[in-house]
């Protein structure tokens, strides 16, 4: 069946950080109304809600959130559903919303997510995040998310014959870059902080899971994000600057032990990204910048390879050489990424869409990528398990 073109009307994002005084619903509502206010539509135009949340049960004692949300934000009675896919929750929500609009089920829907991990504290937050590893065979050993990427970092060093200390120095440049960009993004958790890190600062910070240190890791974050999407025809009738969804992809995998040494090749990401490139009729060379899932420094490096920007084993050199900085061959995470901006898990996917749309509309004044026309987002849920990619552009698909 021929799909309709789909576009983003408006986007919203709360300040990321600590929100002890805002509920999961408050955070979503704030982001939603920012997106709604720039969409030039009426509330009655919105036909459904696609909401991403990972661990509301553990952080706020709250599940079954979608109905409450539709009611609380003034969209009583419309179909609303919650998507859980760990860190990719709102990217899965976005993709499902896109498919529904593309296939003519709805003309206009709201997408987004919210999460409160900072407020939950490190011990509960770490356990909540660890619900995304294999619950029996990985959890019994106490494997955590920094642990997953520490395992990947050592395997990467071994496989590509880079001394671990040398690789860690290269990884540090991901943290330096993303903190530099996060420090100039007013909505980032680390706005005005850590903008001038040195390699030694990263290497000498507290060890979380060896070899990963605190500055290799993204923080625990509270926040919300949202987008309004509609058919391209609908969008062009109501706003002047639609950003089009050119393609999406999704794939998955089992636990880390099932993926074996392929974990550092991120095979589900390859499958997902190729699906998205094919639908969008683009190649990695057409991409102007990337919003990558940099939950840990090594994660950004592995992702940049699997997405086709660098050969396997070369992504670590690329960041050290400046290729992934704004002004380099393929800028990655000009908004600070998860490391600099923060990672409110269920809100992260649509916050990547937020950053992408602002850039493509030339509104990201803090760190604008010049003349950007096409962006790809990349969201990873779990230990290289769920993968979602979304390609956005300023022109309709060819």
């Amino acid at each position: 069946m021929e799909k309709r073109d789909v576009a983003v009307l408006g986007v919203g994002q709360t300040k990321f950080g600590h929100h002890p005084d805002k509920s999961l619903i408050d955070l979503f509502a704030e982001a939603f109304y920012e997106a709604f206010n720039e969409s030039n539509i009426e509330l009655k135009d919105i036909q459904a809600i696609y909401y991403g949340n990972f661990v509301g049960e553990m952080t706020d004692g709250s599940a079954n959130l979608s109905g409450f949300i539709s009611d609380e934000i003034g969209l009583k009675g419309i179909p609303a559903r919650r998507y859980e896919a760990a860190c990719a929750s709102s990217s899965v929500a976005f993709r499902e919303a896109y498919l529904a609009v593309a296939h003519g089920i709805y003309d206009c829907v709201a997408v987004g997510g919210s999460e409160r991990l900072y407020n939950a504290g490190t011990a509960i937050g770490t356990r909540a995040l660890a619900t995304a590893v294999d619950g029996l065979h990985e959890m019994t050993a106490g494997l955590t998310f920094p642990g997953v990427f520490a395992l990947a970092a050592r395997l990467y060093a071994k496989k590509y014959e880079i001394p671990m200390e040398k690789l860690h120095e290269k990884m540090a440049h991901v943290s330096i870059k993303n903190h530099k960009y996060g420090a100039i993004n007013p909505k980032a958790q680390f706005y005005n902080k850590f903008g001038d890190l040195k390699v030694e600062d990263v290497l000498n910070s507290k060890v979380i899971c060896s070899p990963l240190t605190l500055f290799d890791c993204c923080p625990m974050t509270d926040g919300g994000s949202a987008a309004i999407i509609a058919s391209a025809d609908f969008a062009e009738d109501v706003i002047d600057n639609p950003v089009y969804v050119l393609g999406t992809g999704q794939s998955g995998a089992g636990g880390l032990f099932r993926q074996k040494e392929d974990m550092i090749k991120a095979i589900p990401r390859k499958i997902s990204v190729e699906m998205a490139y094919k639908e969008a009729k683009v190649t990695p060379k057409d991409i102007d910048f990337v919003e990558i899932h940099d939950c840990f420094t090594i994660a950004e490096i592995i992702a940049s390879e699997a997405m086709g920007f660098f050969e396997y084993g070369k992504g670590a050199d690329a960041v050290e050489e400046g290729e992934t900085w704004v002004g380099g061959s393929i800028p990655i995470n000009p908004d600070g990424g998860l490391i600099g901006k923060g990672h409110p898990v269920g809100a992260t996917g649509t916050s990547q869409v937020y950053a992408a749309v602002k850039q493509l509309r030339n509104e990201f004044k803090y760190n604008q990528v010049k003349d950007a026309e096409i962006c790809i987002t990349d969201t990873l849920g779990g230990d290289f398990g769920t993968l979602v990619n979304i390609i956005l552009g300023i022109h309709r698909r060819k």
Partner: protein, 139 residues
């Protein structure tokens, strides 16, 4: 014929020093921990076998910041082992000087044993956690 091994059976056997898995009657590959199908080809034509319990460390990490329920165990070292028969499993290495170990631990030969730990609020087994523990052969 499809053999099914429950997680309780798998962990009980591990405590007795036996590593259970499945062998595929179609492609010959081993699956461990057991699951509904052959991990290699997806066939349901799998038979219960006891694996050697021997393998080599492929990667590891020492955890200093633990989730709630595991905090009394820090620092602990999680490792992945490639078994002789091919599958990878996750477990722990008990090491005194965790701060001093480096990349050269990768490739070391180990045997796996089961060790009982207290369970925690969210763990699927409400009586205990059985952790695969890797013992270095050369030690």
């Amino acid at each position: 014929m499809t053999d099914v091994i429950s997680f309780k059976e798998y962990f009980d056997a591990l405590l007795e020093g036996k590593l259970l898995g499945l062998k595929c009657s179609d492609c010959g590959a081993y699956t461990c921990p057991p699951k509904a199908v052959c991990d290699s080809c997806g066939s349901r034509n799998v038979k219960r076998v006891e694996l050697s319990g021997r393998g080599r460390i492929t990667t590891f990490t020492t955890t200093y910041v633990a989730p709630v329920g595991y905090d009394k165990e820090v620092p602990y070292t999680v490792a992945m082992v490639e078994l002789e028969e091919g599958p990878w499993i996750v477990g722990r290495i008990e090491i005194e000087n965790a701060d001093e170990i480096g990349q050269d631990l990768i490739g070391e030969e180990v045997v796996v044993e089961g060790k009982e730990y207290p369970t925690e609020m969210f763990y699927p087994d409400k009586k205990r956690r059985v952790v695969p523990v890797f013992k270095l052969v050369k030690a």
